[in-house]
Structures are given as C-alpha cells and as structure tokens.
C-alpha cells in the first residue's frame, strides 16, 4: 500500500489558534479522514 510521502507528512498546517503542526500529527494517534477543502465559504 502507498504511504504518505515525506514532503506531505512534514508540510505545516495551522490550527484555529494559528499554532503550527506537521501534517503527520493529524494521523499520529489514530486513523484520520482528511478532507482537503477547495476553499472556505
């Protein structure tokens, strides 16, 4: 099975408090369904 590439896993995303997280943190403790939105609104 494919794995998430390193570039994507290390990409930085921000929470609602503008705190930075590496993308891989989002699936670190349990499986995640990541919905990448086109845009807000």
């Amino acid at each position: 099975m494919d794995r998430v590439n390193a570039e994507a896993a290390e990409a930085k995303v921000f929470d609602l408090e503008a705190k930075e997280h590496p993308l891989r943190e989002l699936w670190a403790s349990r499986a995640a369904v990541l919905v990448f939105l086109r845009h807000f609104g």
Binding site: R3, V4, E7, F14, A32, V33, H39, F40
Partner: protein, 139 residues
C-alpha cells in the same frame, strides 16, 4: 457537508474526520461557525500539503469543465448557494484516509469543482469494519 454528517460513523469505524482548508485561521473560524462544524479543522495557506499530495489546481478545472456545470446545477437544485469565496479560488481538494503508520487507505483527488467521492467509498476504507472483530475472535 455530507461527510460531516457521518463524523460519528467515521469515529465508530476507527478514524477521526479532520478538515483542512486553504485559507487563514480566521476563514476557518468563520466556516466553522457558518456550517456548525464540530470536527477538528486546520488550514494550509501555503498549499504545500495540497501540492505534496498531488491535488490539482487550475482555472479550467474549476470554472469551465462540463462536470462543473452538472455538479453546479445539481447543487443549486438541492438548495446550495455559493457564498463569498475565502481562499484560493483555483485550488481543488480531495480526501485522504491515513493510518498512524503513514499508510494511505484511501485517496481521492478532485478533478473539477464539485467533484466529490462517494461517502460509502470512504467509509468502506476505514480500519474497523463491522464484523471484523467477530471473524477474528477465537471460537
């Protein structure tokens, strides 16, 4: 948002629904309030994660493809009205299901605006399918 309605089913099947948008945290907060989103939500204003995962971007795919017209008509018919756009207009999205060991259980890259995967396909990809525990239990 159909997937948001399935967030409890997703949790029962061993995963967490998380949204990622391409605007700023303030856009995300407004979106969260407008659509009563209760799942975690993050933003990637640089679009680095979108690019690294192969998500498409382009004027034609977001404005002029025949699929856009069909999806747009269907959405209008079901009552959706596009409000003020916040974020990159031409970035398309997708869905990824990932396990803690980085394995991708499911991937869908939207090809046009309004192109979304069937929710049933996403649910079928999740780790804890009903009946699995019964099959694995010792007799």
């Amino acid at each position: 948002m159909q997937l948001h309605r399935e967030r409890f089913a997703i949790r029962d099947l061993g995963a967490e629904l998380i949204m990622i948008g391409n605007g700023t945290p303030n856009f995300a907060k407004a979106f969260l309030e407008e659509f009563s989103i209760t799942t975690p939500i993050y933003v990637d204003p640089s679009l680095a994660s979108y690019r690294a995962l192969g998500m498409r971007r382009g004027v034609a795919a977001t404005l002029f493809s025949p699929k856009v017209l069909v999806h747009g008509f269907r959405a209008l018919r079901s009552g959706f009205r596009q409000g003020l756009t916040r974020g990159d207009h031409f970035q398309l999205g997708g869905v990824l299901v990932v396990k803690p060991d980085d394995t991708i259980l499911y991937r869908y890259l939207s090809e046009t605006a309004g192109d979304h995967p069937p929710t049933s396909d996403i649910l079928a990809a999740l780790p804890h399918q009903p009946g699995i525990e019964a099959q694995l239990s010792p007799a």
